[in-house]
Structures are given as C-alpha cells and as structure tokens.
Subunit: 242 residues, 2 copies
Amino acid sequence: MNINKYNQIYQVLSGEIIEGVYQNQENLPSEHALVERFSVSRETVRKALNMLRENGFIQKVKGKGSVVIYDHTMDFTVSHLTSFKEIQEMKSIRYETNVVELAVYDAEDVPKVQKALGLYPKDKIWKLVRQRIHDSKTHIIDTDFFLHELMPGLNEEVAKQSTYQYIEERLGLSIAYAYKEITFEPMTAAELDLFGPVTPQYAATVKSVVYLNEAKPFQYNVSKHLASEFKFTDFSRRFTGE
Amino acid sequence: MNINKYNQIYQVLSGEIIEGVYQNQENLPSEHALVERFSVSRETVRKALNMLRENGFIQKVKGKGSVVIYDHTMDFTVSHLTSFKEIQEMKSIRYETNVVELAVYDAEDVPKVQKALGLYPKDKIWKLVRQRIHDSKTHIIDTDFFLHELMPGLNEEVAKQSTYQYIEERLGLSIAYAYKEITFEPMTAAELDLFGPVTPQYAATVKSVVYLNEAKPFQYNVSKHLASEFKFTDFSRRFTGE
DNA sequence: CAGTGGTCTAGACCACCTC
DNA sequence: AGGTGGTCTAGACCACTGT
C-alpha cells in the first residue's frame, strides 16, 4: 500500500516480530544484513529501524545491535491516534453504536469548540453524539464536532460506522496529528441518563483536537469512559531523534 | 551539550520557535536555506526537522514548507518520559517531598514488580514511597521500586531530591524508554490516610516500567494523583516514520 | 516554471562492543 | 581486529505547490 521502501521494510519486519520470527530479547539481523536482504542502501534500512524503534518494537544498542523489546502480553498502546473502530478491532470487543444526536451548529454556539478549532462565529460544525454499548450497557459516550465544510455529506449511516474511515477513504483527507488530554470529571445529568446507574459518577474524559495534513484543525472530540473500565497505555522514549 | 549537528540544530530551532522568532502558523525557512545557514548537508537538516515534527513544533506540508504549530497556550506535554522534578519546574509549582518509606525487599515479596521487571525471587529491590505536598496538602503519592544493584548508594537525601538526576548524572546510567498505564482507582485506606479527606476518593494512577539504554528494566513506578486535579496531555501523530 | 519537501544512494569516518 | 550502530556528506530523481 505504501510506496516507499523503508515503509515496506517496516511492514515486513514489524510483521515478523509480531509473528515471532524474531523473539523478544533477540537481536534483529544487523543493518548490513538487512541491506543485503532488501537490496537497499543502509540509510533506507535505518529509516525502517527508526520506525520500529519509535513504535516500541526494538531498542538499538551501540556496538551490539537491535534488540526486540516487543512483548505479546503487552497491552495495545492507544497513544498513536487510533480511532474507536480500530481500538475495538484490536481488543476484539463488539460494541453497538447508537447515534444520540447529529446536527449542525454555528461555531459561536459552542465556544470551546470555536476556540479549539480557531473558527469564525458563523462557521458551521457538525455535532455528533454516540453511545458505545456492550451487553446492553453504555461504556463510552463520544461527542464529536467536525468542520461542516469538509464533510457536508455526513449522515447517520456513516456515523454508525467509522467516521475516520469515511474521512480518509471517502473524502481522501489525511489525518496528521492530535492533542489529547485525559481528566477525571463528574458526570453531567445528561451523561448519567445515558450511562444509567453507575459508580462512581465520574467519567474518564479524553478530549482531543485533531488536525489534518496541512495543519488544519478539523475535529474536536470528547470521549467519556466509565472510570472503572478505563485504561490508557502508552510507550514513550526519553529522547527522540535519530 | 549534545555533540551531533542535527541535535544542535534542533536545539537552536526549537528555541527560536519558543522565543517567537518563528510564530505559530508561519513557515520555517526552507531546507535549502537551513542547509546554508548551518553549513550542513540536507539530510542533517532533515533530521533536525524530524525531531521538531515529532515533538509537535512543526508540520511539514508537501511542496509548501514546514509550518510552525507550536502554541504557547498549549499545556506542557507530559508524554515524553519526564521526571517529577522536571514537570514541577515546568509548572513552576513548589512541592515539598516527604519520604514515607525507603527500604530493601526481595523481589519475590512484591510479585507485581518481580514480574514487571523480570527479576529472580532473591533479587534485591529498593522500595521508596514519597508524598508530594503543596499548601500542606498531599497531591501525589509516588511509590518506586528500583533495582538495588544499580544504585546501592540510594539514601533519603537523594530520595528527597531527584532520583532521575541521580541516576543519570551520578550513576551515568541512561534512561531510554517506558511503558505507562493510566487508570482511575478508588483510594485504599492507606492512601486515604496520606491524602486526608478528599472528594472524590479516587486516585488517578499512573503505573510505569522504565528501561535503561540496553533494554534493561530498571524501575517500577506507581504515581497516585488526586483525581480531581489530574490532567495528562499528549501530542501524537497518526503515522510515524520519516 | 521554480521552489518546496520526500526518497534513495554509495561511500566515508567514528564510537562502541566482543573476541 | 572485525562487527555493530551513529553521524554526515554530495548528489540524484521524484511529486507536489505556487506563479
């Protein structure tokens, strides 16, 4: 799918690590060996290895080699901007999605969103509220605000499926990065109504602002999770860089 | 301090962005111009730009240039493995640190830690419990487990200062990466005792396993925050890679 | 068209590790 | 000494953007 060489090499190697061709704590073949195997230059191999490193598959040790640090028991790492649908498939839990609201507002009616996305007062935005239900219990309430001009054709059918898929595959837009914030907040009356009787009456709250490729803010999302079930996992490095 | 060129260039450019030499939404000089300015090759400039991109300073746009996306109003991003002391300095809040416990255990006495760090039953570990106090109120309780063999000289004085600084500056060890997990949990009786009367009686719980350069697990940390005050912020990209 | 970033190469020199 | 990864270069070709 991706046309460049280092990405293909990354796909191959990460796949082999996941399949166990290279086990945890083992060394990957040396860069020189990978150069031979893939018939590319060393810098190209190194780009693929850097991707593996950034995504928590390997750790490079000077003078020694690239050690696999991928552990199958590790929880799936949420931090790389994955959509609800993708997470759901990873965890292989089946949620039912119920669209609570889908409507168009003026940006000025929702000041937080107007400010976060840098909109003019009369810019139109979609508001989309969805319940994620499993075993006839609501686990997550997602509230999304999208720029209307970028997806005028949004409808309930799309909203029940994956909005990210729609954005990327149908509209050809490319999601680039996001700011996320996790807090613990009391549930509002409306939220309690959707969640039903739960303890505590607090929600793990993930707010995010999502940007497209050209640094264009595009989506404001508030995701409320039952606090007792919420878990966020992350892999991070102390120093970034080559 | 860092000897390689791309790191120096990164330091210079990130500093200039923070100082406002390049404003939000503006373009950075072209790669060609930066090649001239720093008298290096283009690939070296690109490595510095990639660091800026990964740390949320810029977004590169095909055929156009590198747009600054750094906003001063943005909260400090915690996700890159920063120590408590570093966070405290960023936020310029003065906490007092109180050492509740500092003792040596056998790994088998703390099975969770033994498993997370992959230890033998009789391996020795430090247990260190610290309260972070501000305005005579406890805001954070940090519980740390360290490999004893790597820092036999740990003492209460060091524990009151920064353990990371001690590890990196005194011991010359290099912290590489960590796995983190955030959950919201009811406070235990012992925690309630340290926190005092608070509402809600929930703690934002950050558990992490920290690794040194050679993929050696080294520290297990549980950080309990008052849920009502807790905020975790993160910057993430959908696709990594060059 | 010229300017921009994206990819890739072949080779060089270095620092570190192991034997 | 020989293997490993880390840094850096000079140049090439491409795809995309703007005019």
